[in-house]
Amino acid sequence: MKILVPVKRVCDPDNANKVKVSDDGSSVTSDGLEWKPNPFDEYAVEAGLRLNENAPKNEKLGETVVVSFGASDVVQTMRQTLAMGADRGILVQADDAELDSMVVARALKSLVDAEQPDLVLMGKQAVDGDSNAAGQMLAEMLGWPMATFAMNIATDDGGKTLTVGREVDTGVLTLKVTLPAVVTVDLRIVAPDAVSNGVTPADHKYNDGARYASLKGIMQAKKKKIDQKKLGDLGIDTGLTTTYPKFELPPARTGSCEFVETVDELVDKLHNEAKVL
């Protein structure tokens, strides 16, 4: 099947303490930060690759296309997913300030109209803004069935439907969606047996987590095609519906360690000073 996987570039969560806010509080400055694919999007790429391959034979069964938004250096992040095995990429050039969940969803809709994938597989949210919105908006615009927080996916009915286990507060909610569909994934989607496509034998054990790019994959990624388009050329409404009035850093932690004598004193401090009880 043809699968479209949107991949957002986020600042490396391990660098998060280097995030700074501009002096006037209007934006977050990204100078000197290292970038990574949003982990949930990387899991979506992994799930897409698993759906589209016969793993033991190392055979491809379909096309996996990654889509990103941003400046032209986002290509570097996209190449990481191409090195994992995605077939080609589409980069929509745009300033971060021009994008919100709604604009991204509208842009994705126009790409879906052009590409006609069977499945849009997305991360449940990006770890920078934590909005958890683009997938739902896209499904609504397309009028497609949707399954969010997927922790397992299996193809059924000769590839016409997907059975998706959704991770919800009370447990796992299993549902069936008819393709084409939008599915957003949670972290357990990369468990060794989370994805089954009816071709890779059921006893094939994947490693836990998103796959590492092989050296061959890294070499080949350089030659894979990344189509570059401008946001303005997609012919969509580019009006923002979400804006951020102000950014500020959380208060610095007063990391002090104090020894207390009694349990009562501890409870008192936790209640009255730390205010966590």
Partner: protein
């Protein structure tokens, strides 16, 4: 080459991710609890498709050589064309793997390097086509672990001169005797290259031909010791080998010819071994530096971060000089590879000498910069410092490198 390419860095990041997930959390096991490094190295090689790629290119080369041996002409395009950007990229990624591993467990690089570098390298440069086809693929994937044994209790720097191990002719085969020590992978090796002198009853020891044999684990008369306790490199098992009347057929003689002396051509093996040392040194230096910078920023004494003291700044500056120099040596090696060339013996020795000394100096300075914490095993620099010392000893001691460089300069 003046910097890593985007692709190289992508490979580096992937290695880093694997190492951070699979090795860093288990350092204690590999360094102190005697867990051998082979399973995780095998996994690493498989994960990145390194073994698969190397086996494919090994087989292609072997087929070509077989065709040439059968009388086919070598394609014009192949003559002398061993370089190219593909070869350079492969070398760069190999170096980056060594650098990244050396930041965490330099011993693992020693273990892997001896198996895939020395053992495979010797098989490839001296073995017959059949010997290579039989032994090399499984060593490349590390399904089998290789060792390379020249050093003996009485013979180290003067490896050939004082060598006591012997082979004697026996029917169409040989009987091997002797003992080897400080053998990397010795305790666990499946395949051992054993280097010894041909005792034909007449020739005096200093004139005897030096030959090498391929041995398998478990052969009658071959004993592999338990790992020796040592100062550092704990993730690399080092041991002794004892050979008591080990009988071998002629197919185990490397090259299957007594004419192929180990004395000639040993320089090539030593050269590649020596140039590999720079990458280990760079990994250790980079890790020490990163840790030191962080500590200098955050450790406060006399009311300010110790990085504000000029004597601490001097240490950091020296580390950066060493890092740049070693890195440039590696870039030069890669650039030479691109042109299908290698380093001269003297140049490889000079690189090894500098890298080993600079690395040791940096690691000691890192311990100093960390003060009492630097002496504690809880802080990483303690291990790196112990691990660095061996770079001045194995693959030819500093003294031997020095005299070989000078001998080369003075040669008429």
């Amino acid at each position: 080459m003046i910097e890593w390419s985007e692709q190289h860095l992508a490979a580096r990041d992937a290695f880093r991710r694997f190492i951070d997930a699979e090795i860093r959390p288990n350092i204690e096991d590999f360094e102190h609890n005697g867990v051998p490094p082979y399973d995780v190295l095998r996994k690493l090689i498989a994960t990145f498709g390194i073994g698969e790629m190397q086996v494919a290119s090994f087989r292609a080369r072997l087929d070509k050589e077989r065709a040439i041996a059968a009388g086919e002409a070598e394609p014009e395009a192949d003559k002398g064309a061993r370089g190219g950007s593909g070869a350079a990229d492969a070398a760069a990624m190999q170096n980056l793997l060594v650098i990244e591993l050396s930041r965490v467990c330099p011993g693992m690089v020693t273990a892997m390097g001896v198996s895939q570098g020395l053992c495979v390298g010797t098989l490839n440069s001296r073995g017959t086509l059949d010997q290579r086809a039989k032994y090399v693929p499984e060593l490349l994937t590390m399904e089998k672990v290789g060792a390379w044994a020249i050093t003996e209790p009485g013979s180290g720097s003067d490896a050939f001169g004082s060598m006591m191990s012997t082979c004697r002719r026996d029917g169409d085969g040989y009987v091997l005797n002797g003992s080897k020590t400080f053998i990397t992978n010795g305790p666990y090796a499946d395949t051992v290259i054993f280097i010894c002198k041909l005792d034909d009853g007449d020739t005096p020891p200093d004139k005897r031909q030096v030959l090498s044999f391929i041995l398998d684990r478990g052969m009658e008369g071959l004993t592999q010791s338990r790992p020796l306790r040592k100062m550092g490199q704990h993730s690399s098992p080092t041991g002794e080998l004892f050979l008591e009347d080990v009988r071998v057929g002629p197919e185990r003689l490397l090259g299957e010819s007594e004419k192929l002396s180990y004395r000639s051509g040993a320089r090539d093996t030593f050269s590649s071994e020596r140039s590999g040392t720079s990458s280990i040194a760079l990994g250790i230096v980079q890790e020490c530096m990163e840790l030191s910078i962080d500590y200098a920023r955050n450790r406060v004494q006399f009311g300010q971060p110790i990085g504000q003291f000029q004597l601490i700044q001097q240490k950091l500056a020296k580390m950066e000089v060493a890092r740049m120099n070693i890195q440039n040596m590696i870039f030069r090696q890669i650039e030479l590879r691109k042109q299908g060339k290698g380093m001269s013996f003297a140049e490889a020795s000079a690189c090894k000498l500098y890298s080993a000394q600079a690395c040791m100096e940096v690691a000691l300075e890192a311990v100093q910069l960390f003060g009492g914490n630097g002496y504690m095993a809880e802080y990483r620099v303690e291990q790196l410092c112990r691990d660095a010392k061996v770079l001045q000893i194995y693959a030819g001691t500093d003294e031997i490198q020095t005299s070989q460089i000078a001998r080369d300069l003075l040669a008429e």
